[in-house]
């Protein structure tokens, strides 16, 4: 069942939670609503569920307007951020609650309810905990029970509010994988809210990036990461290294630093964004750029060595971060305190007039100019 959000507005007093939001959620896909707190993502989820009403606009499920339909009649599954398990009911009773709430003529018999609960318990791999109370479960177990409870009535749509927010890192990763597998098996239309970009990129088929009550960009995780359309999305998806300066003589200049920018109009402000993996480190400046940086710290943990650097002779709002493979690290053996030069490979340029970035590939420009290297 596809979901259409049509020009939704929502205000809380003077605060605009959602500003004219329109959105298509494709059927059978797992969609992430990603944004910082206050971006309106949870409000949007609650409006889709019917737990909150919008000031104007429509919500359509598979083409049918459900805006005025009560939550009870929307046939959705909702997993709350803090699970909201009924603390005075056992795990099995929690899962059975939705089935037992069905109108008498639709309600399955006692025997069938018991069987369906057993099946769901097996699905969440917790059949041994049927008679426990929520307070006796770990966070991850609670999360699974909440999911089973939401799925018991076979909803057309599954909505999850920060599903992994309250769990520790290890459990979160396991559950993420498990949810993905579950989704691939059952193919309900799912939307989950998160502020964790890694979670959104890893888990979803489609990511909706939100900021200040508006949709910034919608795309698949790969496309989103490769082609952010705004500074906000750029900033929000992983670390970026920035150079802010003035374009002069085909170069972006700030203090002692410069980067060649062929074909860009002179005398305008520009911001260049570079991902950590789009930059190499060298002991001397190249013909393309001179970006002196001093190594502030080196982190060896992970599949890559992460090096943090401070600009030398120029300025940047944030620390620079550059990734280096372990073999490269062993060969170059950079140490803390040394002065190095960043060599950009690919960058994304924001000019003062344009909203969308221009991607610049120096390897390509290099080849065209037939420079030496």
């Amino acid at each position: 069942m596809s979901i259409t959000i049509d020009r939704i507005n929502k205000r809380f007093g003077n605060f605009t939670a959602l500003n004219d939001v329109s959105l298509e959620i494709p059927e059978g896909k797992l969609t992430a609503l990603l944004g910082p707190s206050g971006s309106g993502k949870t409000t949007l989820l609650r409006i889709i569920a019917g737990l909150e009403s919008s000031d104007s606009g429509r919500v359509l499920f598979g083409g049918d307007d459900v805006s005025n339909l009560h939550v009870r009649d929307r046939n959705i599954g909702f997993v709350f951020q803090h699970y909201a398990l009924f603390r005075h009911l056992t795990v099995a009773e929690n899962i059975a609650f939705g089935l037992e709430s069905l109108p008498r003529k639709e309600r399955p018999g006692k025997q069938e309810i018991r069987q369906r609960v057993e099946k769901l318990l097996e699905m969440i791999q917790l059949p041994q905990l049927a008679n426990r109370y929520p307070s006796q479960l770990s966070g991850g177990q609670k999360q699974r029970v909440a999911l089973a409870r939401a799925l018991a009535t076979q909803p057309r749509i599954l909505l999850l509010d920060e599903p992994f927010g309250a769990l520790d890192a290890k459990v979160r990763k396991d559950l993420r994988r498990w949810l993905r597998a579950l989704h691939d098996e059952y193919h309900f239309t799912s939307i989950f809210v998160t502020h964790d970009q890694e979670e959104a990129l890893e888990l979803s088929d489609q990511v909706v990036v939100m900021s200040q009550g508006q949709v910034e960009q919608v795309n698949t995780p790969t496309a989103l990461y490769a082609r952010p359309e705004s500074r906000f999305v750029f900033d929000f998806l992983g670390h970026v290294n920035t150079v802010v300066g003035l374009v002069k003589g085909q170069k972006l200049v700030q203090g002692d630093a410069w980067i060649s920018l062929p074909g860009v109009r002179n005398d305008q402000e520009a911001q260049l964004y570079l991902r950590p993996h789009e930059v190499q480190l060298a002991r001397a400046p190249s013909v393309k750029a001179k970006l002196p940086l001093r190594i502030a710290s080196i982190s060896l943990i992970g599949s890559e060595v992460r090096i943090e650097l401070m600009p030398e002779g120029w300025q940047s709002d944030e620390v620079w971060e550059v990734g280096m493979s372990h073999s490269e690290f062993a060969r170059q053996s950079p140490t803390r305190g040394e002065l190095w030069y960043a060599v950009p490979e690919v960058g994304h340029l924001f000019l003062a007039d344009g909203a969308e970035p221009r991607t610049i590939d120096w390897q390509y420009t290099e080849a065209a100019n037939a420079s030496n290297m």
Binding site: G50, R58, D64, D65, S67, H70, D73
Partner: protein, 290 residues
Amino acid sequence: MSTSAQAGAAPVRRFASRSKRVLPGFGLSLGISLFFVSLVLLLPMTGLVVETAGMTLDQFWFTITDPRVVESYKVTLWTALAASLFNGFFGLLLAWVLVRYEFPGKRLIDAVVDLPFALPTAVAGITLATLFAQNGWYGQWLLKAGIEVAYTPIGIVVAMAFTSIPFVVRTVQPVLEELSPADEEAAVSLGASDSRVFRKVIFPSLWPALVTGVALSFTRSLGEFGAIIFIAGNTPYISEVTSLMIFIRLQEYDYAAASAIASVVLLVSLVLLFAINLWQGRYLKRLEGR
């Protein structure tokens, strides 16, 4: 709204209000609440308004400034103030001891603190009167020290203090429990003396609750009646509280006078109630960091 909203699988309530409530029972619960509040709490006030409206301004003023009545205001105010200040100290002490220390009998003390709320005021009254009477368990010792409590204003203070003990304890206790040990440890590690830590670190987070507790205790004491009349002796101009003045005027069938005095008392109580609520709202907001 769309004029052509297609009906979905389930019936669409097309004219349902946009601001519909998700949880059920709003109309029912608010209806019961408003009906009850209007009928039980607000409607009776009209009787007082009607009664006092029947008096001229001069009559009203004359009644509420009658020397005996004025004396009762004074007695009530100072005894209530003394009782609530005593409870400020005693309540803080009890809350501190109950939160900070472990000792035998702690659970019992914690339970017994609420006794004055559970014990009928008349029972408290005759008990205190018996204890503090000249031949009572406490009275005979106090008499030797030259202190008379029963049938004097001090007796009023004792009765008021007794009936309002729980207020300060129960408002200060949770705040004291929430205090983080880290703040104290930080201060101690910086070399501050204990009394300095108390004044500079603990007391600043404690005093809003303490003020609330004392104010509640004061409000309750102003209106106390049952516990007082047995021990106060009720001597005009000396140990008559305002609640008793109202009662006496009623027994004289002087409803107008009783109403006039009661309107003064009621006004003061309502002002205090709203002030305490505003104050609590403000300092709670500050504690939550909003």
